[in-house]
Symmetry: C2
Subunit: 407 residues, 2 copies
């Protein structure tokens, strides 16, 4: 490593997997702005702007709307560790890998839990969630909006109403849909919703937007325990069990993002600049326009796949618009097709996890990549790779996709 | 917010506080490179390069040397939650705010702990740590190398030997010194050392480099519990208590950074690009040259302060080279001086926390800012601001600093 590996110089690859995808160039440029001190007035003003912008992105009036410094998974854990007390009962809605992740985290937090499951590729009807909740009487209901592992989007209408009825708080992981499909925190009545930047928001992984309802914030503040070293005699501690993590203590993080500006971590300034630019792009485009762009790209991808003789995975009524699962035809070498895509075309498409490993490809069209030419290029390349691997393509995927875009 | 707050456009401020400081321009440029898929061969090659580079930065042969996706504080919590089991006994070495943070985290993890303390502004002699350890017989000894809250650097020679003698594992928080003072993981015999980018490494906050000894890794793998959703029949789980956090589970994160590439979080690619460039800059400059540059800048800052009639905080023998504490003269308005520095000169200097709040300023000269002209400019500006606030400056800080640089 005489030259210490040389300058960063990644290939210009088109990332059409389930995420991360290519960041919008404006986001990367915003991230090269010079740093600020964490309590400089310009920095705290940017923090306040980020709060306002993400209220728009999450379609919420929630005061507590900000960023967790870590990947999308950090947002999930921050929400759960702050909502779940030892012995809390959690109802988990599961039909994919990220539903399993919620279980995993709840177990580590020492929660009791029950699950309401659907097979991968399906969703759980709200009526079944309701039935399970009335039976189990959980403190928290946790679910995933778009589970990229299965490409399904879980309907969430009625979640908040149900939770208010039984006195529970709700959590929604919207990592894979935020900025691409309608994530309506207030309409759902969800108490905490978290996201990430690396999918439909068109930024890099490393910052997790979060929004918290007033009632959830009130609960979390009842667990507040201001940390030693910055606590003063007027520290307002709550009387409930202290949150089991310092880094993910949403009470302290809210105090940091509030006018109190109580020091916690050192805000990841460059990621904040990026998150701010992602939200500006989303809101300037307009949510409806943006969702429509994703819907069209997803529909074109599915139509293209079908025209070539491939079959699309999962229940059409509930498929996410921004990532499409495609059954890998029997006898075809999954890895060989993806290798050709990458090596000949510099296009990445995704494989799958768990029960779907080797069974489906996941092709994303999200954020900056939910664009006509990128969908067409991907389908054209896929057709060539399928033919090269001996698959009898039945029609033009590109033509079928064009029809969706132009029709 | 009709234009959604406009483009990012921070003032070009000189950040001479205790961190964050201005990032090196090369780091910010590296961060604008296009993204890669997380399992693309170019991405995993960059991950391996980062591991090799940070072995150099931490002065270690440790195989397990990589990044935690979060701020420096995320690295601290990842280390502690992975080392501490419920009921573990932890000995915490404390003489400042970040020592208190270790206690805070240990408490939240349900650990038993004992502390060995020194007043803020002093350090704890290894003989006292030894005595406390022999008495308490901890499973883990946790300490802070440079505690920016007090500007003191804790000597750590002999830590590893002591731990091996009593069968303990050690953790060192080197957030504030990594890349600026000698952080010698192997020479110290420390089991886990973590850092951050936003101080002497010259990058933005948001990524925490970590190095883990083989014996600590063995212990952590004995707590391995591969997560649902990616676990296969040959998952190699350990037999000890599962780690209490999913996001900070170092066993899973090591599996992700190993050739297994077991999916965990989605690596924060842009932050990784930045961390890589930070390490390249550090190693290309050479560790000794870099430490000397920081030492000279710190000595010049202290000499300059003294020449102006200010007194320097803390025990000279143990002061960190990269941040200097300066007693705020009696009767002077702390906030007014800092406001003049910021508004007239676009220079940020730091205030302090806890018992030192309003008592000392903390002036950093670290990373890209540990440079002659920046020290001189800061001292010249400080002199003007002190005079303007009515302090009787006794001599030229700039001249005294120049003498250190040129002498």
């Amino acid at each position: 490593m005489s030259d210490f590996f040389g300058e960063i110089n990644p290939p210009q690859r088109l990332l059409m997997g389930p995420g991360p995808v290519n960041a919008h160039p404006r986001v990367l440029r915003a991230m090269s702005a010079d740093l600020l001190g964490q309590f400089d007035p310009e920095m705290t003003a940017y923090m306040n702007e980020v709060m306002a912008l993400y209220r728009g992105v999450f379609q919420t009036q929630n005061r507590w709307t900000f960023l967790i410094d870590g990947t999308a998974r950090a947002g999930i854990e921050a929400a759960l560790v702050s909502l779940i007390e030892p012995g809390s009962k959690v109802l988990i809605v599961r039909s994919g890998r990220f539903g399993l992740l919620l279980t995993e985290i709840a177990e580590r937090l020492g929660a009791a839990y029950s699950t309401v499951d659907a097979p991968w590729g399906e969703v759980v009807p709200m009526a079944r969630i309701r039935e399970a909740a009335l039976d189990y009487r959980p403190h928290v209901i946790a679910c995933v909006h778009g589970d990229t592992s299965t490409t399904m989007a879980q309907p969430l209408e009625g979640l908040g109403e149900l939770c208010r009825e039984i006195g529970a708080l709700s959590y929604v992981d919207a990592t894979a849909t935020l900025g691409g499909m309608a994530v309506e925190a207030d309409k759902w009545g969800a108490d905490i919703v978290t996201g990430g930047l690396q999918k439909c928001m068109g930024g890099p992984s490393g910052s997790a937007p979060i929004t918290i309802s007033d009632r959830a914030a009130e609960f979390i503040f009842s667990r507040r325990h201001t940390e030693k070293g910055i606590r003063t005699t007027d520290a307002e501690d709550g009387d409930r069990a202290r949150i089991g993590s310092n880094y993910f203590d949403l009470a302290m993080i809210m105090d940091y993002w509030s006018d109190k500006r109580l020091n916690h971590h050192t805000e990841a300034t460059t990621m904040l600049y990026g998150a701010r630019e992602c939200a500006r792009l989303v809101l300037a485009e307009g949510l409806e326009t943006r969702f429509e762009r994703h819907a069209k790209a997803g529909a074109a991808m599915a139509a293209g796949a079908r025209a070539m003789g491939l079959s699309v995975y999962g229940d059409d009524r509930y498929r996410m618009t921004n990532v499409t699962g495609i059954h890998i035809p029997a006898g075809l070498d999954d890895a060989a097709v993806r290798r050709r895509m990458r090596e000949d075309f510099e296009i990445e498409i995704g494989t799958a996890f768990g029960p779907l490993q080797g069974k489906i490809w996941r092709i994303g069209a999200m954020g900056y990549n939910a664009m006509k030419h990128k969908v067409l290029i991907t389908l054209g390349a896929l057709e060539a790779c399928l033919r090269a691997e001996g698959f009898a393509v039945t029609g033009s995927g590109v033509d079928a996709a064009l029809e969706v875009f132009n029709g």
